[in-house]
Symmetry: C2
Subunit: 389 residues, 2 copies
């Protein structure tokens, strides 16, 4: 039985995002050996392109052979040792996850809780840093996929330097869609995922280790608990030695190469501007439908738009109809946002005017069908104003 | 810069193996969401096909989102708790790896060493089992990719039952190419990799948990040290609940689905017979060239043929020329076999008469160029006899 051709669903959920045809074409290319000289050239080029997108000179920059959460785990298992004090900002699902992973590494985890939909307050961080002497690592989510909130990083970097702590940043839903700027911001350890603003299919987790993070790694007293993710092996394969560790996911790397090439061709600034404009247009249109964003404008992610489901509107009904009648996927809420929030992604190849307009039209139609009164034309016009501005 | 079309290298190394065009086509299909109803149908079908190939009714059978070594790690982190006594057969790189991973899980690892190129002797296992009371898990490699040796499993199953221990089996280089037969053999925990006899590109590690293994998992006192590989989360996504854990590598799963479908269409017995015949033909041909197999016939893998490099022949020169002049990849030796052994894979779509013949011809030519006297025609004729028989 041959795989049935998947329907052409437009992916406007929290990821995966729509994949550019050039990337799908790259995925389907002839599989080379993982130690083949031509493949090794592609891995070198992929790492160079990752440095471009991370905006870093970090030598140790490569894709982990797993999805975004494997990137999170790779960061923590290599840097955290049992007994280390780790401070994690928790204002959504991915901060919770980071705290869970860190505790499984044997860390003494101090959580700084924040309201869902808002960034973590640097003052709250500072208070905990002072109360818990000797924190070695601060972990934060740059773009909280569960809430659509963006974490300002500069004040946290300053705190980390002052308290001599490393700063670990989750950029799964920001890298390639909004500035991550690893070197300019002086971030120590940063990971991401393929399937959001980078626009490739899921399966790889780009990661970059700065010098301070590497120093902590080199000074470890205990073995890394994961063999698969042990940086000392991974750098031997991804570095000059090319020593066999595990078989790299060849075709996934083709896809990542192509996705990163597309980003380089577009240019980072133009790409960030595109993500911003389409998000603003979408929000304008949704507001015209009476649908309000969860996050205040200054902390709103361009890549992931969390909006409140209007009262008396059934989450599941709307999403099922969008998928069934309009071939559009949007995401539901997680945790306390379940049934209350939609998460609309405009990431990578998905962040386009035609997608914003198609969704506004389809959503208005669907809401009308379900008895919620709103005007699709008005939403369309409001979005249009953003593009004309 | 668009990805340059990779050269059409024939992969006759230890993996990845050649990928069938239908699988590459599946890889490049439109990416669906990881919770999309159509995608969930594909995952259900993929798990059913995995049960077919593993020959098991085990409900908990799914692909781990990582390469083969992630499968090994997934098996061990879920089943082993700190202080557990674990017995590992070490007669090659992958047994060593298993011992390393188990020790990182906090196990007290007892190694049973065996000669490279031979299976582990059940009597040696039995001795260690008696000397170290209370072994909870025996770990063995069914098909040692570093040596080409096959481990007979039946006597070990008998030992495991008698000593009330679980049996973990690495089938990375056997599943889909020679009988694994999980239920018939009563194996407790088995994992594999995409890129060998299953014939898909690397990136997923099929795994299956039997009831005894699950009981040990459910009775854990400590948290699984890996969040990414924690079975309690994974079964919630792969099971009926469909609870979000991590974003599954969608397109890789398309590829695995297609690879497994091809196996079902061919039939397991025909596929095993095909692997066996091509391996026998290759070895006959190589012997005519004066190249001897490492492993005695009764323990020789059909999927991975380890052979001794003739004296005064330079490993690297031969392999570079095969790659450069004939577009064929074969593998070198690892560890003590480095420079002394070639590893020639005939796996999945790669196990075909035309490939055997193409390699024999190219290898004879290359050896002649380098001053080693042998007759390609003779090798060709010897291989032909196997096919005519």
């Amino acid at each position: 039985m041959k795989l049935e051709k998947p329907q052409d669903v437009l992916l406007l959920g929290p990821g995966p995002s729509p994949v550019h045809p050039r990337i799908l074409e790259a995925m389907g290319q002839h599989t080379l050996g993982h130690l083949d000289p031509d493949f090794l050239t592609i891995t070198d080029q992929t790492c160079a392109l990752l440095r471009f997108v991370f905006e870093t000179e970090n030598q140790i920059t490569f894709p982990v052979s797993g999805t975004g959460s494997a990137g999170m785990e790779a960061a923590l298992v290599n840097i955290v040792e049992p007994g280390d004090k780790v401070l994690i900002g928790v204002n959504g699902v991915f901060g919770q996850r980071m705290a869970d992973v860190a505790s499984r590494c044997g860390a003494e985890v101090v959580e700084v809780e924040g309201e869902w939909g808002k960034p973590i307050d640097p003052e709250a961080l500072e208070k905990k840093l002072s109360a818990h002497n000797g924190v070695q690592l601060i972990g934060l989510v740059h773009a909280e996929t569960s809430t659509g909130a963006q974490q300002p990083l500069e004040p946290v970097v300053e705190l980390a330097r002052r308290h001599d702590a490393l700063l670990l940043v989750d950029t799964v839903t920001s890298l390639g869609g909004l500035p991550v700027a690893v070197d300019r911001r002086d971030l120590d350890l940063v990971y991401s995922g393929n399937q959001k603003c980078l626009g490739a299919p899921p399966g790889l987790a780009p990661i970059t280790f700065g010098e301070r993070a590497l120093r902590k790694f080199r000074n470890r007293k205990s073995k890394v608990q994961s063999w698969y993710l042990d940086l000392s092996f991974l750098t031997r394969y991804w570095g000059e030695e090319r020593f066999y560790h595990h078989t790299a996911p060849i075709n996934m790397i083709y896809a990542l190469f192509e996705a990163l090439s597309l980003i380089k061709e577009e240019g980072l600034d133009d790409r960030f501007a595109r993500h911003k404009k389409n998000s603003r247009a979408l929000i304008s249109g949704l507001e015209a439908l009476g649908i309000k964003p969860v996050v205040a404008e200054e902390h709103r992610l361009a890549s992931l738009n969390a909006v409140r489901i209007p009262e008396n509107v059934d989450d599941q009904q709307v999403r099922s109809r969008l998928r069934r009648d309009h071939l559009i996927e949007i995401g539901g809420g997680l945790g306390p946002f379940k049934g209350k929030v939609w998460r609309i992604g405009l990431m990578g190849h998905g962040s386009r005017r035609e997608n914003v307009e198609r969704l506004l039209k389809a959503l208005a139609l669907t809401l009308n069908e379900l008895g919620y009164s709103c005007s699709g034309e008005e939403a369309f016009a409001e979005a249009g104003k953003v593009y004309q501005a």
